[in-house]
Symmetry: C2
Subunit: 242 residues, 2 copies
């Protein structure tokens, strides 16, 4: 969360000072991201960022009121990077090839995670800023959900993704935030919200297990296993080929 101080200091944009200021903020984030990638969250300190920039540590307080504020900025960036790589992958497929879009998006997520393990961990590992995500991360975090949701929606419109749940164990309206979900996946049936959330959980569960070493001894080729998982999920989601 940006402190009032920081917001105050931002001033009007466009002026030379504001431009320089934004450039400096970007430079700081860039260095912080590099250090994060090298040593992980716990090895990321304001002092080291300052050192790398040939600044005195207190200078950073002109830009970030607190270490957590810098971390939050990195989290937002990470969500955005992940979101945009997912969006690009989706856009690279034929619009009516739902299975292709689904697998491409999921693979983009996993590729991003493997290429930026520490940024993935920053987002999906143990939370560090308390258990409540800062509100400004929400919009960025929703981008991946939106991509997957849209694929669903499109498949639904073409007559796929219409399987009802096998049985009535509890009413979906009682345990899901259907209003929120319907805005992310408009037109998708409430029953399919369950499957979409399960698919989502499965993808991120898979990546976390893989990256955190919990598949050691059981999965020896995660690439192939992932393909298989995506195929099975597509089957249950009713968006597979043919």
């Amino acid at each position: 969360m940006l402190s009032e101080c920081t917001i105050f200091l931002m001033g009007k944009s466009g002026t030379p000072r504001a431009v320089a200021r934004n450039a400096q903020i970007e430079a700081i984030k860039g260095v912080a991201r590099r250090l994060l990638a090298e040593k992980g969250v716990s090895g990321l300190s304001l002092r080291e960022v300052a050192r790398e920039m040939d600044l005195v540590s207190s200078a950073l307080y002109r830009y970030f009121a607190t270490r957590d504020e810098l971390l939050t900025a990195l989290i937002v960036d990470a969500y955005d990077e992940l979101g945009s790589s997912c969006e690009i992958a989706d856009a690279g497929q034929r619009h009516d090839d739902y299975y292709g879009r689904w697998t491409a998006s999921a693979k983009a997520i996993r590729s991003w995670a493997k290429a930026q393990p520490h940024e993935y961990t920053l987002i999906f590992g143990t939370p560090i800023l308390g258990y409540e995500a800062p509100p400004e991360t929400v919009k960025s975090a929703a981008r991946v959900a939106h991509v997957l949701g849209t694929i669903f929606h499109d498949a639904r419109e073409s007559g796929k993704a219409v399987k009802p749940l096998v049985d009535g164990i509890g009413d979906v309206n009682d345990f899901l935030e259907v209003e929120t979900l319907s805005s992310v996946m408009p037109g998708v049936s409430t029953d399919d919200y369950v499957r979409a959330l399960m698919a989502w959980t499965q993808i991120f569960g898979f990546i976390s297990f893989e990256m955190f070493g919990h598949y050691e001894g059981s999965v020896k080729n995660a690439d192939m296993m992932f393909d298989r998982v995506l195929y099975e999920l597509a089957q249950s989601l009713d968006i597979s080929h043919s």
Copy 2:
């Protein structure tokens, strides 16, 4: 990993000194566990453990050569607690009620996680001791897998859990460690290894998402959602009722 030093110091068991020594080790772990539960991993320091025990910090080095060694001990304990609560839940069901055993085990895992969030995080959150799990954790970590595997095996023997995979995308033998898996789930078809691993991934993915706040805004009643997820998984695993 226990240092050679520690192993050397352990001496014969049964002697008064060895008894006192083991008691002290347990006392240290107990205090460490309490502090872990209160403040999480990052708030767990040797110095504070020592303070709580009215000892000088260097005294702990008689028992643990390093902070990581203490952490490893806590990890092993956590896996064992989780494993035994899972085993107990399974044993409390009728032996041929596979769906009951499945849901009871899964719910026991989730209950344990929610009751001991920091211990869950220690095991399934971001790894802290490097990406290779210390070898002595492996046996304890396998207990949960064994419970789930046994349910599968029993179901299989009674004629359930026999669905073949829907299609041949890659050979299971190429991406799974079938030898290891067959020892955990004897008699289960290789195709079902995939489903078992997916179910496993789904359960832990669900719990992590829930605990780390990623269901905020989409799932409002995690208990009910979890029931639904277990039901759907049982369906795909072919161990549901009737």
